[in-house]
């Protein structure tokens, strides 16, 4: 068996990257093992758990359901490249203990940020529904919902709920 490869050129966290990759390799494995962006995690490889969530051309995708070669020419952003953008979410997650083991957290925050961009004033149930593609086994989800709601309120200029 020979493993077919293809050259891939894309932008990851603002930097141009060019690599030869196996065509069967998925995006999250490429990001983690070829580029060392280990902030995106692998929880199921079935597109169900959301731990591998990354941003591909401004939309969140499952890094395990996208082949690396499909990202050719694209702009990819992971948790590592989301520093300032997620500053208030990160602080809110920290203060309200919206994470325990942290394995779901990068994906959870990227999904939360996408929600807040699309809907700056989500209800608690809207937050819960939007984050229902991101499995968290440790928390009761409540602190996560609290943290996202607090950021939404702050961004609207109101007090944290």
């Amino acid at each position: 068996m020979t493993t077919r490869t293809r050259r891939l050129a894309l932008t990851v966290n603002g930097e141009a990257v060019s690599r030869e990759v196996p065509v069967r390799q998925n995006l999250v494995d490429f990001l983690r093992h070829d580029l060392g962006f280990t902030g995106s995690h692998v929880g199921c490889e079935q597109g169900a758990c959301g731990a591998c969530t990354v941003v591909l051309d401004d939309e969140t995708v499952r890094g395990c359901l996208v082949l690396a070669v499909q990202a050719d020419g694209c702009d990819v952003r992971t948790i590592e490249g989301s520093g300032d953008l997620l500053g208030d979410l990160r602080q809110s997650f920290h203060e309200l203990n919206a994470l325990q083991c942290g394995f779901c957290t990068p994906g959870m925050m990227l999904s939360a940020e996408e929600l807040l961009q699309a809907n700056p004033t989500p209800s608690r149930q809207e937050i819960r529904d939007y984050l229902s593609g991101n499995f968290c086994r440790c928390t009761g989800y409540q602190a996560i919902v609290d943290a996202v709601a607090a950021v939404a309120a702050k961004r609207q200029g109101g007090a944290a709920s």
Binding site: M1, T2, T3, P22, R24, Q25, R32, H33, F37, T38, G39, S40, H41, V42, G43, C44, E45, Q46, A48, C49, A51, T78, I79, E80, G83, R90, F93, H94, E95, L96, N97, A98, L99, Q100, C101, G102, F103, C104, T105, P106, M109, Q125, I127, R128, D129, L131, S132, G133, N134, F135, C136, R137, C138, T139, G140, Y141, Q142, A143, I144, V145
Partner: protein
């Protein structure tokens, strides 16, 4: 005060930046990747294993079968000397001759990448000879059942009985006896990060270094040393960031041992990360109990006696090193534990059958013991026409009943059942709920409320595994090192898997020592660096590790004061430390900063008179005495809505009132309890490892094995009562079991309350739509 403050965790900052360091994030030079060839059958003879095609594949470096590992790894038996009659069949790292569950591994393929190793695994050809499989405990114990283990006459692994008082008389004289048969199906811990390991062997020094996603580094050090015949001090187990554990990661797993053996044989680092299908197939599982239980009542609702039969299974082997009996044992000791009855009998039988091994997953046995008793209380109250809340109150162990050894044989110091109930009733207006319930029923909307009282066994004492013969440390030691700058390193034997015990211990040390939290760094999860300890499982961190830290901090503080006193020409007893400064104990006047004392202690020790105790690296230990467990308690209330057409259950509201003694950090404890509740709701409504009659797993993905997601879950209100443990200075009890312990019973009772108008009931979890529709006789 730092203890009791809601302090966020230091480690979380890194995790929030995506800078966590989980096992799969680590790569070592020339590292190989392990893929396992697993049995497609639940029970089969293993014939010839042909590896030639696989070995010829580019990227495949080596392949091992059981024979290749024969000299490298010892086999093991899951014995427990407190249960000497328990069968403990021999297990090997790779199965030889016979596989006993679907997913048991028979060959190890090492490749340059995981993908190449998997390519190789697919080309390994095994001559399987399928045998009849046993997939149900009743079937396993039937006279004609195929027997799993050659050295046994049947599949009965163990049976035991716990008894108190005179059950026969109590039941004969009762005004009413309630009976129900319950079925709690098999599920697992399902940490988001699967099991994972990197094993690295240095042949010139016989040194094995392991990075593993695990809860008990010292236990693993001991196991790897013994099973691989290495000197223990040459084995180092490092647990970096751990992506959730829930008991799943405090066992020996054969797969990980294979990785260690391969690393040794090949003298190259070997990584093994379980994928999700492997996790469902080969992780340890939990529950899978069938219980028939009876509760005897007087006409006024007094509980006179409880009797139960628990039939469960260990899976294919006993779980090592703890054995698989604990879940049955906990159920036999905890069922009805909140109540005053004197007459009690629990019979437990554990069978072997062709499924993955049953282990210790969060809240071992508790959710079942709680659900069984609490359902029977509701049923009894209903038949007797009594208020189920009042029946509970009438029977709760209360003030003067303590201290007490329960009918099931568990020591209770002081529990707060009535206090928890009172608080729950302040939060939930039962009268209003009943009014609304009646109103909605008239509209065809079926809501129910369920209450479940639970006892939470935490901080296991040294006697259980010590007498059992297991090498499992049940004491904790803390090492504190005052650095020359005056900051502190704290080394603990407990481990942090996200629950935040590192922060709790940091708070204890900060308080006792009188220095700022930021000046204390916690080092945990490293068997070479940290004092020998038990890790974190069974809610032991705060109660045991916290107490050891308190003692170590007291000793270090004394030595700091001794040095200060020697410089100040004062009595150390007249001094104290506050905010990092040695002060006069009476006036509060500042004398010297702790960094100044550290400098003197480390660099100018000649200025300290002989005979002054001035050690700036100290260790203290804590082991409980004379008790198996430290019991806490609590109560949960669930409100659900049942769609009687679809069978879907929607949790609407959930309230927990919990007493875990002194709370180190409410912010962390509250969400830990909520996370436990979510796992309990998962067990109650969604999570089930389903097998077909041949023992083939039907739920190998998250599409089939449903876990609770944010959208379905309610907000969970958590309140606390604090009854400090009397046997320790800190007064903390464990908190990690509570959420899961009570949620199944609360949901089960709530669903049954909701469907009461249909004159039916359900006693099987998870309460899936098909099961509920069957109970409602709609399908």
């Amino acid at each position: 005060m730092s203890i009791g403050a809601s302090v966020p965790r230091d480690r979380a900052r890194r995790l929030l930046l995506g800078r966590g360091n989980y096992v799969d994030d680590i790569a070592l030079p020339r590292m190989l990747h392990l893929a396992l060839v697993r049995s497609p059958y639940a029970h089969a003879n293993v014939g010839t294993i042909d590896i030639a095609d696989a070995l010829a594949l580019p990227g495949v470096v080596a392949i091992f079968t059981a024979e290749d590992l024969e000299d490298a790894v010892s086999s093991w038996r899951a014995e427990h000397k407190l249960f000497p009659a328990m069968a403990a069949p021999k297990q090997f790292a790779l199965a030889r001759d016979v596989v006993r569950w679907q997913g048991e591994a028979v060959a190890a393929v090492l490749g340059n990448s995981r993908a190449e190793a998997e390519d190789g695994a697919e080309l390994v050809s095994v001559a399987w000879n399928e045998l009849p499989a046993v997939t149900d405990a009743n079937q396993a114990l039937a006279p004609d059942a195929p027997i799993l283990h050659d050295d046994m006459d049947n599949n009965l692994a163990f049976q035991t009985q716990v008894t108190a008082g005179d059950v026969e008389t109590a039941f004969n004289e009762a005004d009413h006896v309630e009976q129900e048969t319950f079925r709690f199906h098999r599920h697992s811990g399902v940490s988001l990060e699967p099991r994972g390991i990197i094993a690295e062997f240095e042949p010139s020094e016989s040194r094995l270094t392991v990075h593993q996603s695990h809860q008990t580094p010292h236990q693993q050090q001991d196991l790897y040393a013994r099973l691989l015949a290495l000197p223990e001090h040459k084995v180092r187990v490092i647990c970096p960031d751990v992506g959730g554990a829930f008991g799943l990661k405090h066992h020996l797993m054969a797969d990980e041992l294979v990785a260690c053996a391969a690393a040794r044989l090949l003298e190259r680092p070997v990584k093994y990360i379980a994928d999700r299908l492997e996790s469902f197939l080969a992780d340890v599982h939990c529950r899978d109990h069938e219980i028939t239980a009876r509760m005897a009542f007087s006409a006024t609702g007094e509980i006179l006696g409880i009797q139960l039969d628990d039939l469960f299974n260990a899976g294919a082997y006993g779980q090592y090193p703890r054995s698989s009996i604990a879940e049955g044992n906990q159920i036999s000791r905890l069922t009805g534990a909140p109540y005053r009855h004197q007459h009690y009998r629990a019979d437990v039988r554990m069978a072997f059958l062709n499924k993955s091994i049953l282990g210790h997953i969060r809240s071992v046995g508790h959710p079942i013991a709680c659900a069984v008793a609490e359902r029977l209380v509701d049923l009894g109250a209903e038949t007797l026409g009594l208020d189920p809340i009042e029946v509970r109150r009438k029977n709760y162990l209360n003030g003067d009943d303590f201290p007490r050894t329960s009918a099931g044989g568990v020591e209770f110091e002081q529990l707060s059942f009535n206090g928890c109930l009172d608080k729950a009733l302040e939060i939930v207006d039962m009268t209003e709920f009943r009014r609304e319930q009646a109103e909605l029923r008239a509209q065809g909307i079926y809501r129910g409320i369920g209450v479940a009282t639970f006892v939470e066994l935490t901080a296991i004492g040294p006697e259980y595994y010590g007498e059992g013969g297991q090498h499992i440390s049940a004491q904790e030691t803390c090492l504190l090192r005052l650095e020359a700058s005056g900051t502190v390193r704290c080394y603990t034997g407990t481990t942090d898997q996200g629950q935040g015990i590192d922060t709790g211990i940091q708070q204890v040390v900060a308080d006792e020592l009188g220095v700022a939290l930021a000046d204390i760094e916690i080092i945990s999860g490293d068997s070479a660096l940290c004092p020998m300890g038990g890790g974190s499982w069974g809610s032991r961190g705060a109660a045991l590790g916290g107490e050891a830290a308190l003692r170590a901090a007291a000793t270090l503080k004394q030595n700091i004061l001794n040095i200060a006193a020697s410089q100040l020409q004062k009595d150390p007893g007249d001094l104290n430390i506050d905010q990092g400064v040695v002060i006069d104990g009476a006036s509060g006047a500042a004398h010297m900063a702790v960094p100044e004392i550290a400098r003197i202690g480390h660099f100018q020790p000649y200025s300290i008179p002989d005979g002054v105790s001035a050690d700036l690296t100290v260790t203290e230990r804590y082991a409980s005495r004379g008790r198996m467990f430290l019991a806490g308690n609590g109560l949960q209330t669930a409100i659900v809505e049942v769609d009687v057409d679809s069978g879907l259950v929607t949790p609407l509201r959930h309230v927990v009132v919990h007493d875990c003694g002194r709370i180190l950090n409410p912010l962390l404890v509250q969400e830990q309890v909520r996370g436990g509740v979510i796992q309990g709701i998962g067990a109650a409504l969604y999570e089930e490892l389903c097998y077909d009659e041949d023992g083939h797993l039907l739920t190998g993905s998250f599409a089939d094995y449903l876990v609770p997601m944010a959208g379905e879950m309610p907000d969970i209100e958590v309140a606390h009562i604090e009854t400090p443990a009397k046997t320790s200075e800190l007064g903390a009890k464990g908190a990690g079991e509570a959420g899961t312990a009570g949620a199944v019973g609360a949901i089960l009772n709530a669903v049954n309350d909701a469907i009461m108008p249909f004159n039916t009931s359900i006693a099987e979890t998870p309460i899936t739509p098909p099961r509920l529709l069957q109970a409602l006789r709609r399908i």
